[in-house]
Symmetry: C2
Subunit: 352 residues, 2 copies
Amino acid sequence: GDAEEEDDTSLEDPWQDEEYFGSYGTLRLHLEMLSDKSRTEAYRQVILRNSASLRNKVVMDLGCGTGIISMFCAQLAQPSVVYAVEASSMAEYTRQLVKQNNCEEVVTVLQGRAEEIELPEQVDVLVSEWMGNCLLFEFMVESVLLVRDRWLRDGGVMWPSSAALTLVPCQADSYYAEKMAFWEQPYGLDFTPLQPLAQQEFFTKPKFSHLIEPNDCLTAPCDVIYLDMYTLQVKDLEEIKGQFHFCVEKSGVFHGFTAWFTVHFESLETGGATVELNTGPNSEPTHWKQTLFMLDRPISIYAGDSISGNIVLHRNPVWRRHMTVTLHWNINSATEETDNCQVGTKVFPMWR
Amino acid sequence: GDAEEEDDTSLEDPWQDEEYFGSYGTLRLHLEMLSDKSRTEAYRQVILRNSASLRNKVVMDLGCGTGIISMFCAQLAQPSVVYAVEASSMAEYTRQLVKQNNCEEVVTVLQGRAEEIELPEQVDVLVSEWMGNCLLFEFMVESVLLVRDRWLRDGGVMWPSSAALTLVPCQADSYYAEKMAFWEQPYGLDFTPLQPLAQQEFFTKPKFSHLIEPNDCLTAPCDVIYLDMYTLQVKDLEEIKGQFHFCVEKSGVFHGFTAWFTVHFESLETGGATVELNTGPNSEPTHWKQTLFMLDRPISIYAGDSISGNIVLHRNPVWRRHMTVTLHWNINSATEETDNCQVGTKVFPMWR
Ligand SMILES: [Ca+2]
Ligand SMILES: [Ca+2]
């Protein structure tokens, strides 16, 4: 298809907003998000379960896209007003949809970037679907934090209220076979000279939309990063670290790590039920699926081994929607006395 | 992912060669083509079945990519020489692969565009895999014709020797449901105001890599365009027309047309077996799959109706790797006397 026109890079907007909001001005991404039942149903459940408490509340739906969450609020609850904020040109259509669904008394569509929005009042609830691949990619979360600090009244509620990044060491047999083992003897020929190029092309960057099977997990997954949406600060986003210590349950081939995220929506009622949206392999698949980080060289591991180390999400200082993910790991065999271990580090650009 | 840097459009190369050959300098497309067993096996069968006649022949493999066809020639036959011509930076790797597979005595890798190649001699056989979506997209065929006229000796053989574009009126229930019907009542809301935008975004251009099920065909398919690779001239590529007359066998919903291509490789032996590569729904799937042309509005049709009309492939006068496909159709009901019929025309840009 056509590559978006990109202006000369030196002048380029470090937020690439033209490309970013441009893509949200077309239907493709909105259709993908709306067709994601577990994502959209989760937000619908949040509104439904908090319907009573939402009565007469002032709500903001930041990055409302087609306005689906705002219309859930208007149809499943009685907030006094929902400010549906959308920066892209989709906002024009959102207004039509709000009218078409008789929500115009409750839902007010505002077109503009989060930083420029002017509201007549503080809000009681700030709801947004800001999560990107690996939770933070594209950093829409920064806009959410800016709006929280500017417009959420003290004691107001954030939806989601918290977020966690989960990691697991994994096998990736079919991906490895397709992109690397393939070159060993295609049609009886020896194409191994292409393997260094294949490694650079297919394993340097993380693989988005990777669907991991539960039995590809070599250990129990582990939450490596936890974000409290009430206290998280924009400056914290520059570098976020997490530790892990995995115990290998079954022997296999350690091809890399897979990551996904989970978010929680606390109840407006103290003690009320929390709603969870989990994008991991043991939950209904979502449009995010999972993200695969391939090691340069797969490593055989045995039940009883441990894989410990840390993960660092380092925000790109120039391209503000991008980051690098650095993984340090060391593998210790079950018999602790031997101090020999295998250590590795890999830095994954996401994307620049 | 990253969009290739595109220079300012006014200066832009009408052949977009930087983008075109740039994409062939990476492994992605080559892996896709090599992983396409029916495509690659077809070429291997051609060499195998013509092995005896290839003895001492001079062969050119135009756009050889990783050089797989040239190495088939060297390993499965005894040509005197194979000129493996590749314009992209993949040529450097092709040389390593030729050496790695002990073919360097027979296969000579030449990096350069077809128009600039200099050979020490004419060739007996010109083999190439030039087919794009809808047979002609990206118009690599022009390079093949230029090289044929410059380097193929009189009486030399073209592989493929002929090509046909096939068309069928079809149902596309799931595509229509996903992109258009979805907006009728997602989550109980009415998103029909987005349908005009959906039609413009998802139905204006043909859908590449569409996998049609045999029972989505509303009629028997019909070859609408036939190209003889010995007599086809570059100027013929500006506009290629074909007629069709389909008899509807079963009632259904006429969502659009699906197109695919078939190529034939004649034998070097008079009377020898021809090898066919068919990319249609009744053959093994290939990386091309098929191409879907959606009507703006689906039309119900009944057994006994006929759909006749024509297809025009019109090459883009500026962007030389692009074209438009125009479909004119009229639907006549079985009972001939009634002269009422439904007529339609749609112009599909591919891509510009
Ligand atoms: Ca998102
Ligand atoms: Ca091709």
